[in-house]
Symmetry: C2
Subunit: 236 residues, 2 copies
């Protein structure tokens, strides 16, 4: 899936066809996975060497990422990885709190049995895993939400959400989930499925709002802890 910025999400046929696209995907992955840390400098010549291409496709890939907001440019200084810090995550989460209930309403009113069954399946696997495999859990969790939103008529809203979700996911996989939160996640998902299944839109929205709000706050808290530890490590 090639992210295309908030407005796009249309042309699906251009995945890694071109060299620039492959580089784009690669750099994007490295940023989201944390391999390229905050403010890491993205030297064109170096990236070209790594990907065994000329500098041209690299520069284009970086410009695309710039349009997407994942890298920042300073004149004559080239590109750097946009720092994904606490404030940033908080902001993304708060936008999600606005978007997801909106996206969910459409789903509740248009969901098929198969859709609900799919949610139950994902939920079952999450319960099975019980957070033993965090990356897998994160994928399942994202798929859970994606299942609900992917067919929404508002492609712009879906695009914004999707782009944000990929950032959130990338962070989720590398921070721990508190025990209390683990129980809550499974509970909230169960409630959500029930509400959807019963076609109780308002209740579903209420549950979801609670769910993503809590999840977001938990994520920010974990980042705060991470940051505190890092600061202490420097001082100590």
């Amino acid at each position: 899936m090639s992210g295309q910025g908030i407005l796009a999400l249309s042309a699906h046929k251009e995945d890694a066809q071109t060299s620039a696209n492959a580089i784009y995907e690669s750099i994007r992955h490295d940023i989201l996975s944390g391999k390229l840390g905050a403010n890491a400098r993205l030297k064109v010549s170096e990236l070209a060497r790594i990907h065994d291409t000329s500098t041209n496709p690299v520069r284009e890939a970086l410009q695309q990422l710039r349009g997407e907001g994942l890298v920042l440019f300073a004149p004559n200084q080239g590109a750097r990885v946009r720092p994904i810090d606490m404030e940033f995550v908080r902001d993304v989460v708060e936008v999600g709190v606005l978007l997801e209930p909106y996206l969910l309403r459409w789903f509740v009113e248009t969901a098929s049995d198969a859709d609900v069954a799919k949610l139950r399946g994902l939920q079952a696997e999450m319960e099975m895993l019980n957070f033993q495999d965090k990356p897998r859990h994160t994928v399942l969790d994202s798929t859970f939400h994606e299942t609900m939103y992917a067919r929404h008529y508002n492609r712009v809203a879906y695009g914004v959400w999707k782009q944000h979700r990929e950032i959130i996911s990338s962070i989720s996989t590398r921070v721990p989930i508190a025990l209390g939160r683990q129980k809550a996640i499974l509970l909230e998902h169960r409630d959500l499925i029930e509400a959807i299944s019963a076609q109780e839109t308002d209740r579903a929205v209420a549950v979801l709002t609670q769910h993503i709000g809590d999840a977001g706050r938990h994520l920010v808290d974990q980042l705060r802890i991470e940051e505190t530890l890092a600061t202490q490590a420097v001082k100590g």
Copy 2:
């Protein structure tokens, strides 16, 4: 101000410094102003000739616009202008309905006398103009909203709104405003300023929600009329 996609809005020091940036601004403007119509093909060599540069900066500008979602790429077919049609505007408007109340709340709670005075000034000029100068009105209207949101702590939300607003503005300047809507706009703005001034957050939010919902629907209706006329012109 150089738009940077949803997540950006950070580095402000890079306006048209580089050649690629100037081209980016230029193409972006031509798309938003309608000079480059829906699906218009963006040939690299042609754009390079027009801007009197090599093809390299052009390609980079296009990639940036791609990341922003304003142009679409098909492999080996180059770039085209993303069509800004009725559905798209509807989607953007609906996201605005979610974001603006959120952004407004912060403003109401942090606005200074100077802020309110500025709003009154903009409103006064709009009343004076009385829609005689549409481009000017659109600028004032955008500035009105921008004044309320620009300092919001959530840069992501502000960035999304801002990017969307530029699209909405570009369309607003070229469609007529119905007489009834003209009266309503001024009235709603007055109500909004009053509510803000009185620190009545919920009322302000209610007025704003009504305002942008109506404005959005009006815009979509105008586009529908435009489209209908275009279809009839073809048939007739």
